[in-house]
Amino acid sequence: MICFEHVSFGYEKGKPVLEDLNFILQDGESVGLIGANGAGKSTFMKVLLGLLPHEGTILVDEYEVNTKNLKEIRRKLGFVLQNSDNQMFMPTVYEDIAFAPLNYGMTKQEAEEAADTALEKLGITALKHRHNHKISGGEKRMAAIATVLAMNPDVLLMDEPTSALDPYNRRIIINTISSLEKTKIITSHDLDMIMDTCQRVILLSKGKIAADGPARDILSNRELLEANRMELPLRLQGI
C-alpha cells in the first residue's frame, strides 16, 4: 500500500510543484498518472522514491519515506526510467540485470537465477549476453524493465514506458506491463496505453490532483482532459 498525506514539494520556496497530494494506492492496483508537461508527474515519482525531499507523509507499507528508511523503500519500489540509456549503464544486459540482486546481497548464482527469471518472464532470454549499445530501442526498454523485475519489487513505477517506440514495440511493452501482476504506477502521455494497462487514473494539474477515479471515466471525459491540455485517447476519438 502507498499512502500520500498532504504531500507537497517545491524546488523554490513559494512555488510548489506538488501541492497537498492525498491518496491511497492499494496493493495490486494499476494507476496511470497523467497530466500535461510540467504537471509534476516526474517530480511525483522522484518524491515517492526519496530522491527529493517533501513535506507531508508518504507511507510505503509500514515505512515512511525519509532518509532513514530509504534502503527498505527502494527495495520495495522498482523504477523504470524514461530514458533506458540512463538505466542501462553496464556493458552487457546480463550485468545490468544482475546489478540490483548483487547489491541486495544475493550470491552470484542467485543473481544469475533472478536475471534468468526476469529475462524469461519478458521473453528476452536471447538478449542476456548482448552488449547494451548493440540492442534496439525496444529491446533496451524491455531489458530496462528486466533490470527492475530482477529486484522483485512490490511496486513497479514506470516513467513514459512507451515513449519513442515504434507501434510494434509499443504493443509488446503494453502487453508486458499488463501481464505483470504487481502494483503499478505509470506516468505517460500515451493515454491509449494507460487505458490498456491501468484501472485507475490520477490526473495531475499544476501539482494538484485534478481528478482521481476509474480509468475509463476519466479518459473518456473530453472536457476534463481538454481543460488540462490533454486529448481523448485516439480510440475514443472515433478516428
Binding site: L49, R74, F79, L81, N103
Partner: protein, 268 residues
C-alpha cells in the same frame, strides 16, 4: 561518421574485444594483471644499450596476440595516437650520445641510436602488453582484480565510473556537435565564439545525465561499491600461468637469450 561518434564506437569496441572467448580471455583477471605488471616492470628495466636482450621480450605480446585472437592491426590502430608520442621519447638520443657502440657491416652505430631504438621498443612493448590486458579483460574484471589486491574501493569505483561516464560525456558531445554542424554548414569544428556556451551546455547536460544514471544506481541498491557479476574463481591454470609466465620473463631478463641462441647457432 563524426570523430566523436567514432571515438565512442572505438571505446565500445574495446568492451566487445574483452567479451571475446579465448584461453587468454578466460584467465583470471588477477593473473593477467599480475603478469602484465611483471612484464612491464622487466621490460622497462633493460639497460639502454641492451637491444639484443630486449628483442626477446616481443615474444610475450606475439604469443598473446596469437592465442587471444586479438588482431595486431587493431592494436596499432587503437594506439595510433599514443604510439608516436612514445616513439618520440628517445628521438634526441642520437644527438647527445654520438660515441660509436657497435659496427654493422662496417657502419658504425652510435650509442644514441641504439638507446633510441631500445627506448622505442620498450614503449611499444609496454603499450602492447597494456592494450592486450584491456582487450582481453573487461573493465569490471580488472576492477574486481584490483579490489582483490585490496586497492581501496573508492579508487576502483572511481576508475569504473570514469570509464562509464566517458561514454556518457562523449555521447553528449556527439549529439551537440551534430546539432551545431547542421546549423553551421561549411564550418570546421565549433567556432571559438561558441566554445563557452558549448562547454557550459555540455557540462549541464552531462550533469543531468550523470545524475539520472546515479539515481538509477541508487534505486537499485548501489551503496558505494560495485559487485562484479562476471567474476570467476582462480583455478590451477591461473596459478600455473601466474608463476610460469613471470618466471620465463625473468629468465629472459637475466639471460640474453638472443645472444645465447646466436652463440649456439654460430657454434661459439
Amino acid at each position: 561518421m563524426d570523430k566523436i561518434e567514432q571515438a565512442v564506437l572505438e571505446l565500445r569496441e574495446m568492451d566487445e574485444l574483452a567479451a571475446m572467448r579465448s584461453p587468454i580471455h578466460s584467465l583470471h583477471p588477477l593473473t593477467k594483471l599480475f603478469t602484465t605488471i611483471v612484464y612491464i616492470f622487466l621490460t622497462v628495466s633493460f639497460y639502454k644499450y641492451d637491444l639484443s636482450g630486449l628483442i626477446i621480450m616481443v615474444l610475450y605480446p606475439v604469443l598473446l596476440f596469437s592465442i587471444s585472437g586479438v588482431s595486431v592491426k587493431t592494436c596499432f590502430y587503437k594506439l595510433r595516437i599514443v604510439l608516436p608520442l612514445v616513439c618520440a621519447v628517445g628521438l634526441f638520443n642520437p644527438l647527445f650520445d654520438r660515441a660509436p657502440l657497435l659496427s654493422l657491416g662496417g657502419l658504425a652505430v652510435s650509442g644514441g641510436v641504439v638507446s633510441m631504438i631500445t627506448l622505442m621498443l620498450k614503449g611499444i612493448f609496454c603499450l602492447m602488453a597494456s592494450f592486450l590486458l584491456v582487450a582481453t579483460t573487461t573493465i569490471d574484471a580488472i576492477c574486481a582484480a584490483l579490489r582483490k589486491v585490496h586497492v581501496p574501493a573508492m579508487i576502483v569505483t572511481l576508475l569504473l565510473l570514469t570509464y562509464r561516464y566517458i561514454t556518457v560525456l562523449m555521447d553528449e558531445v556527439a549529439v551537440m556537435t551534430t546539432a551545431y554542424k547542421l546549423r553551421a554548414p561549411g564550418q570546421k569544428g565549433v567556432h571559438y565564439k561558441a566554445w563557452g556556451s558549448f562547454l557550459g551546455q555540455l557540462l549541464l547536460r552531462s550533469m543531468d545525465r550523470a545524475e539520472e544514471l546515479y539515481a538509477s544506481m541508487l534505486l537499485r541498491g548501489f551503496r558505494g561499491e560495485f559487485h562484479y557479476a562476471e567474476g570467476k574463481r582462480a583455478d590451477a591454470r591461473d596459478y600455473v600461468t601466474a608463476l610460469l609466465v613471470p618466471a620465463v620473463l625473468l629468465f629472459f631478463r637475466c639471460y640474453n637469450v638472443a645472444m645465447l641462441f646466436g652463440g649456439i647457432a654460430m657454434g661459439v
